[in-house]
């Protein structure tokens, strides 16, 4: 059995500044052909060689998943970050080749929904650009409420200009009361999605729950990439006796793989549960969205793709 390739080279076909801090990238396969399939809500992990190390930053795909000629992302330049966004803004130009992981989706659309209500803030609009392309193609009703700063209103208006004005609601004030009105008039079968700053997502999820929306209808983007990094520790693989040093900037799963051990995994974002491993000794620092409270408290299970260790050593049944 040949291992599925984990990365692919992508060529920058266009790098277009949208604002002083927003830049759009169109990426095509460096070796020609079609880009791998993805679904609305999927993200792309880019390998970014910044001085001294390799960052693996995840960006939501904004391109229409049905169009396999290219992938597209928008990157916000973030001050005080690890430097990935600055690298993309300053160093990457048309024609450059970037190594990228295959698209993965931790924020999929609910296919059985009759209607989709989306609430985004700032750059959190990006996954919804792919959503909307898919909804328009399928003819599924949708409604978007986007919150942004007044100076960026024009940028987001431009990104949404091709869509029916009645479906798009741009807000530059922080009055969330306008959302109550929208939440109260959605027909049965509507699903709700939010992506943006954590405070916005928490607030709107709470508003929806207070207005009678059950958990099953509420969906928020979970940034798998944000979970990487932390205190270094030693992972002991009990079956082989191998001791793996997990550095401050690598994940447990990546460190295990780098040691040549094949560990189960699928989404690499703490969502699917495929990478679940039993913990023999030590206390995990859980960062996943999969384990329930009881499983977390038992300290007997860990999801290697995002979770780390509270103790200096973590002994795994691997």
């Amino acid at each position: 059995m040949t291992a599925r390739p984990r990365t692919m080279p992508l060529r920058v076909a266009a790098a277009i500044p949208l604002s002083p801090t927003l830049k759009a990238f169109t990426l095509i396969p460096a070796d020609g052909g079609l880009v791998p399939p993805s679904g609305p809500g999927a993200h792309l992990r880019l390998n970014l060689p910044v001085p001294g190390r390799m960052l693996k930053n995840a960006y939501s795909l904004i391109s229409n998943p049905a169009d396999r000629s290219h992938l597209a992302i928008i990157v916000r330049r973030v001050a005080g970050s690890k430097g990935g966004s600055a690298f993309l803004h300053e160093e990457v130009e048309d024609g450059d080749v970037i190594e990228a992981g295959l698209p993965a989706n931790l924020f999929p659309v609910v296919r059985t929904a009759r209607r989709h209500l989306m609430v985004s803030g700032g750059i959190g609009l990006t996954p919804f650009l792919a959503y909307i392309a898919a909804f328009e193609a399928a003819g599924t009703p949708w409604e978007l409420h986007h919150f942004c700063r007044p100076d960026e209103r024009g940028v987001f208006e431009g990104l949404l200009a091709r869509y029916p004005a009645a479906r798009v609601h741009l807000h530059c004030d922080v009055d969330l009361g306008v959302l109550d009105e929208a939440l109260l008039r959605q027909p049965l079968g509507t699903h709700f999605y939010t992506c943006g700053p954590a405070l916005l997502m928490d607030t709107v999820m709470e508003r929806a729950a207070a207005l009678g929306w059950p958990r099953a209808r509420l969906h928020s983007e979970s940034f798998g990439g944000a979970a990487e990094g932390g205190e270094p520790f030693i992972a002991v693989l009990r079956r082989s006796g191998l001791e793996v040093a997990v550095g401050a900037d690598t994940s447990l799963l990546a460190a295990i793989e780098a040691a040549g051990v094949e560990a189960p995994c699928l989404c690499r974002g703490g969502a699917c549960g495929q990478c679940l491993i039993e913990v023999a000794e030590g206390i995990p620092e859980h960062r996943d969205h999969f384990l329930d409270g009881e499983e977390r408290a038992s300290n007997r299970l860990i999801m290697t793709c995002v979770s780390r260790s509270r103790t200096a050593r973590l002994v795994l049944d691997l």
């Binding site: 009759r114 509507t190 207005l211 009678g212």
Partner: protein, 201 residues
């Protein structure tokens, strides 16, 4: 010949008002006092409808406000001639509804799963629609051979209304058909039938 421990066999709990709902609609396939079928309606301030099947032509299904105990909102009460009458109005109601509704159904399994199917088709999530069993245990039986659903089955072996086969009534339950699975009882030895027992009174 009944096969127990079948996972698809629904398990029911007593109905309880979901406090997170903005509107509640309780459906019963027979006249029953509201407090008997569901807990938590005392003091609930969200609007609540209670629709029952009266099984008589003497009712008109018109809404009647009934004072609720405590300081709760009044209950909108309606009586229908038959289950089909109620389900017909329910489909119209669900088409007008918005997210925030909670639906509750109590009665025989054929009725409550007809409601559940209608709810699902209208876009309600399982966490917005609750069912509880009351009344007869008689079953709807889906013939796996001719696909006919035979209603009102109370015995371990039933004659299919479609093809006349003698069917073993199993515990396998289909939420889509709101019916239990029926399989020909004498397929291997024609004419040899196990004794018929009254098992779903």
């Amino acid at each position: 010949m009944l096969i127990s421990d079948i996972k698809s066999r629904p398990v029911y709990e007593r109905l309880s008002l979901d406090g997170a709902g903005r509107r509640h609609l309780v459906l019963s396939d027979a006249p029953r006092p509201l407090g008997e079928v569901i807990d938590g309606t005392d003091g609930a301030d969200a609007p609540l409808g209670y629709w029952i099947v009266a099984a008589t032509s003497a009712v008109d299904a018109q809404p009647q406000a009934e004072a609720a105990p405590g300081n709760a909102a009044p209950v909108e009460w309606r009586a229908f001639r038959a289950a089909s009458h109620l389900l017909d109005r329910l489909s119209h109601r669900l088409a007008q509804e918005t997210v925030g509704l909670r639906l509750y159904a109590i009665g025989e399994e054929g009725f409550i799963w007809d409601v559940a199917r209608m709810a699902r088709e209208a876009g309600l999530e399982p966490s917005e629609c609750f069912t509880a069993h009351a009344g007869s245990l008689r079953r709807k039986v889906f013939c796996v051979h001719c696909k006919t659903v035979t209603s009102g089955v109370t015995t371990s072996i039933a004659v299919c209304e479609g093809c006349g086969a003698h069917l073993v009534v199993r515990d396998h339950f289909s939420r889509m058909h709101a019916a239990f699975m029926g399989v020909q009882a004498d397929a291997e030895a024609p004419g040899e039938l196990p004794p018929v027992e009254e098992v779903f009174p």
